[in-house]
Assembly symmetry: C2
Homo-oligomer: 129 residues x 2
């Protein structure tokens, strides 16, 4: 019997040392599975053609949406931001998340800011596979 | 400010009353997000064209693979069974999981058994959306 270890979200998150820098840890069909640490806020943006799934592992994440709507996620909860919808994730404390999104999804969607991390950089060791 | 609640995996799992009966709780791009309760084992099967992601929420899941390989998953861990690979999930105790798989993925893939649950039935209330 050969035992294959599962992939542990917390262990993968320990390898992340910068906020707002997603790290690809797997792939299911045409979607990347990523982990990220968030603190503060990034930027309002949208992904025209791609939904984006946020799962909270630790902490409390607010996702600001148009028309003064806001989603609040705690550990074990998820939300899918539909394609084309402007959103702004805000972490008042450090939040650990899993992101599931299409392999082509750009980090900050339709805007480029100083903190934008290209998908190639998010791939890290996965790029070689 | 309008607050939109996140979707809570545990709350969704409380609505599941049968083992091996996935329940669709969301959709991200072309993938369904499902929750399921497992106990015992289902059947060896494969999905020819679709990867299948297992995330464990509670309990300990074994996924038997060809050539006497086995994945063991505990809470906070995941594994993606690649397309075309025969697998047999085994839950020696009750296990709660999240499944992420293409909307077209058949429950028991290339085999049909008494416990096979068609995707239409997995959809439940989501079918009306």
């Amino acid at each position: 019997m050969t035992l294959i270890p599962g992939i542990d979200f917390d262990a993968e998150l320990r390898l992340v040392d910068a906020h707002w820098t997603p790290r690809v840890v797997g792939k299911v069909n045409d979607q990347y599975i990523k982990v990220a640490k968030l603190l503060g806020e990034l930027v309002w943006h949208a992904h025209d053609a791609e939904d984006e799934m946020f799962i909270v592992i630790s902490g409390r994440l607010r996702i600001q949406l148009p028309d003064h709507q806001e989603v609040v996620l705690t550990p074990g909860q998820f939300f899918v931001v539909p394609r084309g919808v402007q959103h702004n994730p805000v972490a008042d404390e450090e939040v650990h998340i899993v992101l599931i999104e299409t392999v082509t999804t750009a980090h900050t969607g339709d805007v480029i800011v100083e903190g934008t991390v290209p998908v190639e950089q998010q791939l890290g060791k996965m790029a070689a596979q």
